[in-house]
Homo-oligomer: 308 residues x 4
């Protein structure tokens, strides 16, 4: 079912030690697997790792009974493991082929490199930068890109490069080319749209498939599109929400990573919803980024498996 | 600013005899008002009530700044109040007309009479009947109507009349006529659709406008219509919800009274969503019924003001 | 570091197929393991199971870095598994001894047998019986024991034997002897205290160590002991809670299985807290029972690992 | 019962011009009242205000049936109100004395002046400063006081004066004298302890009674005192919380303003609790500050009434 990950290009560079969420002293490797469900998968992987000296720290599996798919995330201590990154694919090939596995290996010490896109609102940007400084996010953040100048001082306070690229209907292709050049130069692994108010093109998205996380300010699939708080107010809902998801070409319809809600009442006008919503957006976006950085997310079809 | 508390010493008057706290011995009246917002509304109502010997226990107001509407719920102790129900309208007419008020008076001792409609699933029905027996619901429940026979024993256990009225495409008008006759004979004030799986006609709804409460098993407006848990599963949401609302002719689009959600994960299959959802449905429906019975809900446009 | 499970007595009879939470067509076995953390534990277990034809469906692990303990729950499809229950211990002995494992096997088709203890309040009892009838609880409930007569009709409605055993200061030992005889005759595996208002003796608890689940009507460790809602009201908390836990000889201090809370305000008097609290108690107790029945709980020290 | 809505037709008056909803242009006054409960209080206050040209926008009351106390918060539009602040007390004296009222008036345009105290952790400080800049907090923040130098740059980024006053056992009285001088010079109305890790003396607290808000990193009254996350971990709770409260001389036992919780599991080590806890602390402290600034909090005994 469903061609999930492209067979090579992306994964080989994804080498991020999940030092978070806890102050892990151990250096670990993480292997993510999706394949058709069948007998013996857990044992096959566990035995392969044991044969190479791996001490498994965590192994999560999930079986989607409808899709007949098997999902696995296994993390092991690199101390004593006898395969380097370059040799892993060859060594694992027999098992991977036998079980028609698609897999990703995250091994080594290089931190993921994250670019944050924002527009004028700064609450998600400020939150992510603060968390990063507090050691909550196991990544480097070398770049903030915005279509406005407003948040330059905030980025500067955190010592992060800020590039303003204006996006207008007439220059959109050019603007994206500039953005892509910046991302490529900075060796970016993950793009976080922190209330970035521009729609990305299909070509742009394809370049970073499953590597662009957006925060939408509603409880999707309710209130897709623009001005969700206004629509929530008009509908008279008693809870408002936020949704973090991977960006796909279908607007606000990518795989959902995390959602949360907050109670509101008739006393809350649209501006109150906006204000209360900010608190949810911050947390829901930050959780998604953490899950991604810890390689806890597997996507298939239009859904996610999030091993927490 | 900040004139601090006026000087009278506090503690000496903090008498705290641990008496029966709630089961209100007082008999109270409740007046609900909607009118255009203007100066002096609170004072006008408060003065009118004081002039007639009312001791106001609670007075809630709300102003919708967009709609320029004023909402009020005022509850007072009937002891010492010098107007009977029959005379209230005449006495209040001058104020009501001056301010173009629409108002409801709930006065006296008669309990609301509630009919519950159900189909085969019994979790909301069982919950409501249990709460009623536990004294949580200030109403009589003289009648359960169902299009199936399944819940007859449950109603019998609670000593409540159970009428099965089969509803088929060909006999729908006739079935509704039978239902309406039963409701009328039983003097029903409120109809609660406790997972009743039939759509009511516009004529039926008009007869009980703002007096039919439904529980929908999704976080509306997401997943309107049939099989919401299936759709929630397919969309891969991370929270599921339930919504209680007044029934209008537009399916699943009536004024929302209450909503709540529960966290789910990739581990939850459709059946798990159904099971977790039951717990939310029960609570969200019961809260709506309680609000209605306490005359805490004002509806306007397609929204509610719920004074809690 | 804590003798956890007694080495034999209990586990060998615990043979409960976790048909919940989802309509599992497969018959599965579950192995629970606690042992000192060291290399190769996952692989050792996975390989042992694969050697005997097991298809692992789920394998959860947890490592407590402070206690240096390893926890595992592994569930496999019995189809094709070549060991019967009687032979498992011998076959697994080498691994278990090598790694100093304490383990439980739950294999086969017999449903757990649950007794519910209650006093006068019926909300938790009614909830459990309703869930059982709805197929949410994978167990038999052959017995309800109460120190009052109040809930006899409710048990009868569900076709369950109801034994009233009055408990007074002077006859407590005798009453417990009667209770234990009933439990033994009924082959009870798990006791659920559904707002049972008597304190069990140390001897009684020892007989059913880690097999008695209680619901306490506060967010423990706040408001230990009697009248927690009264104390919550006096302290002016803004949330109230409920806690399900295994019963130990230290009152309200056993390993916590599950907790939840509900928002309250100054408007809520003690009776309102009691009423709102019931909704939390029901859900928190039911979740704990489900986790236990699905063999998802491992206890150590005074804590639980709950694999959800 | 059930005089339905009086006949005036609704929809024609539902004018909904989508104007700026909140940023209240109106200048309002707020009166807070506590007094023994008796007949006619609402009417007396409403009539007094009407007599002086006030248009009441909101009036909330609460009656504590145990304490026989009446609480009221009334807010009105100053336009047309014929009393200035200086004259109010005289004009209101007759009513206040008759009913033994303690009252506060908040009238006029001066913003409250807030000082934030912090130690080394910056998450609450950064959050409050960000909210202030975003317009969420209706106050001036002229001063940050800390016993450490760490957050000087953060305060500077927001253009706020930062005073470091080291607090040691031997210089505590002197340090507090310095703090009080700074507070007095800056005309501070409210002190917010944003994870300030020093205990204030009784004399200090008395100077700002009910005007010092603290955030405690547990769900009080559980885990009073130091290292609550460590204790929560050891107890094995399944939810962690935070509590904002007014500071009194009894440590962690002042009137609770707001609380919230977050779910945790066995997977969360102490550091994870700390990290998850930060998100709750931020929100729970900010809500308390907002309630205080909007004059929504009445304290009595050791409890609060929070009119939201």
């Amino acid at each position: 079912m469903c061609a999930l990950w492209s067979p090579v290009a992306t994964p080989r560079r994804l080498v991020t030690p999940p030092q978070l969420p806890r102050p892990m002293h151990r250096t670990t490797a993480i292997l993510l697997i999706i394949c058709p469900d069948r007998r013996g998968l857990v044992a096959a992987v566990a035995q392969f790792l044991a044969d190479h000296g791996a001490n498994i720290l965590h192994a999560d599996q999930h079986i989607d009974d409808n899709a007949k798919l098997f999902f696995m995330r296994v993390e092991w201590d690199l101390e004593g493991f006898d395969l380097c990154e370059a040799d892993f694919a060859d060594a694992f090939a027999a098992i991977a082929e036998e079980h028609a596995m698609r897999w990703q290996l995250h091994l080594g010490r290089r931190l993921a490199r994250v670019a944050i896109f924002c527009s004028r609102q700064d609450h998600c940007l400020a939150d992510l930068l603060h968390r990063h400084r507090a050691g909550e996010l196991a990544c480097d953040i070398p770049l903030v890109i915005s279509n406005h100048a407003d948040n330059r001082a905030l980025a500067a306070f955190h010592g992060i490069r800020y590039e303003q690229i204006e996006v207008l209907p007439r220059n959109k292709a050019e603007a994206e080319a500039d953005q892509l050049a910046l991302l490529s130069d900075a060796g970016i692994d993950l793009i976080v749209l922190a209330r970035y108010m521009q729609v990305l093109s299909g070509q742009f998205i394809a370049r970073y498939a499953n590597r662009i996380i957006n925060i939408h300010h509603s409880f999707l699939p309710a209130f897709v599109g623009a001005r969700p708080y206004q629509h929530a107010f008009e509908r008279g809902v008693k809870l408002i929400g936020a949704t973090s998801h991977y960006v796909t070409t279908e607007l606000d319809n990518g795989p959902i990573i995390e959602q949360d809600v907050e109670r509101v009442s008739h006393r809350d006008q649209v501006d109150d919803l906006v204000q209360k919503g900010r608190d949810i957006e911050r947390v829901v976006l930050a959780r998604a980024v953490k899950y991604h950085l810890a390689h806890r997310i597997l996507t298939y079809g239009n859904k996610t498996v999030v091993f927490d």
